[in-house]
Subunit: 507 residues, 2 copies
């Protein structure tokens, strides 16, 4: 009897654990932990493959590696492509009895790199563990495979955060479910793109060509950064984005600044005068009509926005900012407006390479972020019209000799593919399900944002597939995304795996 | 008798040639031509030694090579130096009966190089013959040592024009005199400097330390370019020069232009607004008092200036300039005013490396040319005061965290050593002797210029040594001096040797 009753209690305990709210989560967490060393080894290998978005050869190597990751997890990879485009790696898991289908998206291409700008010892495609950002006093960990991985560490490397982290968390979330023997509640599809950092130029064509394969109730985009407080975040929209490249022409050859100074026009001077006229001292864009098309927020979007935790005081201190642009409005409010950012400008050389010359040209790259209501081509036209209004002859190729001697102000203006903004209504039932699933993994209110400041080509998902799209960012916000010293916190990767697994189990 | 009379005639002929006006010149020319292959081989070796002005190790190699060149010509080289400075290579030839002493100056250091900016196949320190500038359709000559050297060719390489050409022409002019057995009319001194391209920071100290060795009636500076018409040129003054480096600070780390756009201030925007305010649309500097100190030209200077051949129409066509700065004034008139040139500016990246970021800083390098009356420090103060008047907190080192969060406009301003302008009176007897000597070598009026647009530290020669200084530029004006694809025309080198030899024989 005694034995029997013990057994009964044990059986009761064993059987009752699964009905506690945390059990699936605990199982997933345990499975994730058990595979930690192998998962990390595989991720470091993925990060070691160069993935600059225009490096099509290496991009292909990345896509093959990801196919291998899927096969290892029992998913049969398919490759979607259109002529001239990088590959999409696709996979599908059908769950008996499931009535909903969710597609998880991430991109495996990365921004261009300038290795010289990375801190000493760091290289874009030699991932290493660091104790903290090097510029904040961190150092490289002398890590030996098999050694325990400190969750306070970061991994340094291009795309460690943006966005190979998405590929990593999605595939390992599914892996953790399989290893925990927990059945997803929905059919799952995987969609890993290789052209996001150049504006996803093939995405619309891929959607049209493979429309049948891409049927879904919801896309979950794993890209971007969690809220700066570190709280888990769900995002319902993104800004659109398009880049413009400007080149102003000076003398046909570089001239000695003494022998021609005061006589030959300096293209750098023309460029600073042109750019200076585009924004006022508060950062407000003064190009006519720049803000005209913006569609205002709905009531529930305004409400969500008001609940986003304040971060500005900390950010100002951390980033060394005395006075933000546009007065003291919250950061998230700034996201609700279009931008004109000077990504970069160059004329001649500075620093040790500076020479006393009148340079042959001045270049600038502008980034235009777009919000709901903006049209990419309309926004470009506003900027180009402004340039023309300043007396410039605008061309879209190198000038001829005749143009050079005819037009005192001569500029080449080009733009990349770009795309418009997108926003999914917060109140949609499937959106509410995602919020609940993620909310169940933490004991603080998940941050809900009507739109990120950043961009993804989600506009095309709606247009081509009629799809609903929600973004679930996974990585730390201080990841130096798009720049030198990009990094991801190890703890965010582990939590990211568990967040994605929770969505795969959403009710 | 017959034999005797033949001999007499021969002797008469041999004796009478030297009294013809052109004889010395012809002899020198013949000696120059006879040694052409060896002279050129030696020059190509000199150009192959890297000579960036801050590369002190290679600068030393250059100075040793020049010592060797002098020894080969029977001149005993001496080395002048002060702690921390690059060497001056000095030599002296005393001529029995000579009453005047002329010092010939050139510099063997060069401007910094950015090999990436050079045309394909050209490298700064791999001198090659080219048929014409590559950007004008020229090609590299597949030259074999010993092959005849076409005088239409150019030599491509850093310092091929500025200013190893000076060293080359001076030493080979003396060589041609020795080989022609023609005695110079003056004592000759040689002074080859290795720090000119960083503003000759040791020159004043060298002058003080070696004052006794440097006694002279005149310095002849072989640097700069002949008039764009190609006519031989004598210059009586130079502009002064000082560089200012500006760094405006943005966020402490590069920020995603979407996630922080419209909120984090962009240092590039601050820089374009600051620089745009310094000049008006015609290139006139609007910084208060910028032109106030200028000393007007004398009557004879104005007269010389008026006689300088017009070049503007050709230059506009050749350089692809539709409208020069400052209306339609002649180029040489522009030289009589101080300048503010944007040598270079940089923030983030452009082109293939451009990324969607708010950069951490924006940099600019300004070149201030100075004319008689300007003081370097006063001119710097005018610019710095202007920057302050625009709301900037000005520092001269990297900012502290406290400064970053205190000052919305924070700028680092530094400057290099620099120096003031110099002008020698045109009417000075020794100046007239030089003009006559050079005039005798050509059948067109030599161009006389009160001042170059370019700069040399000639101000120090007057101040420290009480010396008279005249500049005799030797190279083609389209030499890409200070920039990529620097080159010198072979014909100008040969003529340069003969010009310097003529000065060594001046009456």
């Amino acid at each position: 009897m005694k034995l029997n009753s013990c057994l009964t209690i044990t059986l009761l305990l064993l059987c009752s654990f699964p009905v506690f709210a945390q059990t699936n989560q605990q199982k997933i967490s345990a499975a994730r932990k058990a595979g930690e060393q192998a998962t990390m080894a595989e991720y470091l290998n993925l990060l070691a493959i160069p993935n600059e978005t225009n490096d099509s050869l290496n991009i292909r190597v990345n896509s093959s590696f990801i196919q291998g990751m899927m096969i290892k997890r029992g998913i049969t990879p398919e490759v979607f492509s259109v002529p001239g485009g990088n590959r999409v790696v696709f996979g599908e898991v059908k769950v008996p009895g499931a009535t909903k289908t969710i597609i998880f998206y991430a991109h495996y291409d990365g921004q261009p790199v300038n290795p010289k700008q990375w801190s000493e010892g760091l290289e874009p495609f030699k991932p290493v563990f660091i104790t903290a950002p090097i510029e904040q006093g961190g150092h490289i960990v002398n890590y030996k495979p098999g050694q325990a991985i400190d969750t306070a560490w970061r991994i340094s490397g291009r795309a460690s955060a943006d966005d190979k982290a998405g590929v990593m968390c999605i595939l390992n979330a599914y892996d953790a479910l399989v290893k925990s023997k927990i059945k997803p509640t929905c059919n799952i599809k995987f969609f890993f793109e290789g052209e996001e950092e150049k504006g996803s130029p093939s995405l619309a064509a891929i959607f049209r060509k493979y429309k049948d394969k891409l049927d879904s109730d919801l896309w979950i985009i794993c890209d971007g950064a969690r809220h700066p407080t570190g709280k888990k975040t769900v995002v319902f929209g993104v800004r659109g984005d398009v880049n413009m490249a400007l080149t102003i022409y000076g003398p046909k050859r570089p001239l000695h600044s003494g022998n021609f100074g005061n006589w030959a026009p300096n293209p750098g001077l023309l460029m600073v005068k042109l750019l200076a006229g585009m924004k006022d001292d508060t950062g407000h864009v003064t190009i006519p009509g720049f803000y005209d098309d913006v569609i205002p927020l709905t009531a529930s979007e305004k409400q969500a926005l008001a609940r986003v935790p304040a971060v500005e005081a900390n950010l100002k201190k951390e980033l060394g900012i005395a006075q933000p642009e546009g007065g003291n409005r919250p950061l998230v409010e700034a996201f609700m407006q279009p931008t004109l950012n000077i990504n970069g400008m160059a004329s001649g050389n500075v620093g040790a390479l500076a020479a006393n010359v009148i340079p042959v040209k001045a270049e600038a790259v502008l980034d235009l972020r777009l919000v709901l209501g903006n049209d990419m081509n309309r926004q470009i036209k506003k900027v180009t019209d402004y340039i023309s209004s300043q007396g410039y002859h605008v061309i879209n190729r190198e000038p001829t000799d005749a143009e050079r001697t005819t037009y005192p102000k001569l500029i080449k203006v080009t733009h990349d593919a770009g795309y418009n903004a997108q926003r999914t209504p917060l109140d949609l039932p499937v959106a509410q399900s995602v919020i609940k699933a993620i909310q169940a993994t933490v004991n603080y209110p998940v941050v809900l944002s009507p739109s990120t400041g950043g961009s993804l080509p989600l506009f095309i998902f709606e247009k081509e597939l009629g799809a609903k799209v929600i973004t679930v960012p996974l990585v730390n916000y201080d990841n130096n995304q798009h720049a030198e010293n990009e990094n991801v916190k190890v703890s965010y990767l582990w939590q990211g795996i568990e967040t994605v697994a929770a969505i795969m189990l959403m009710k």
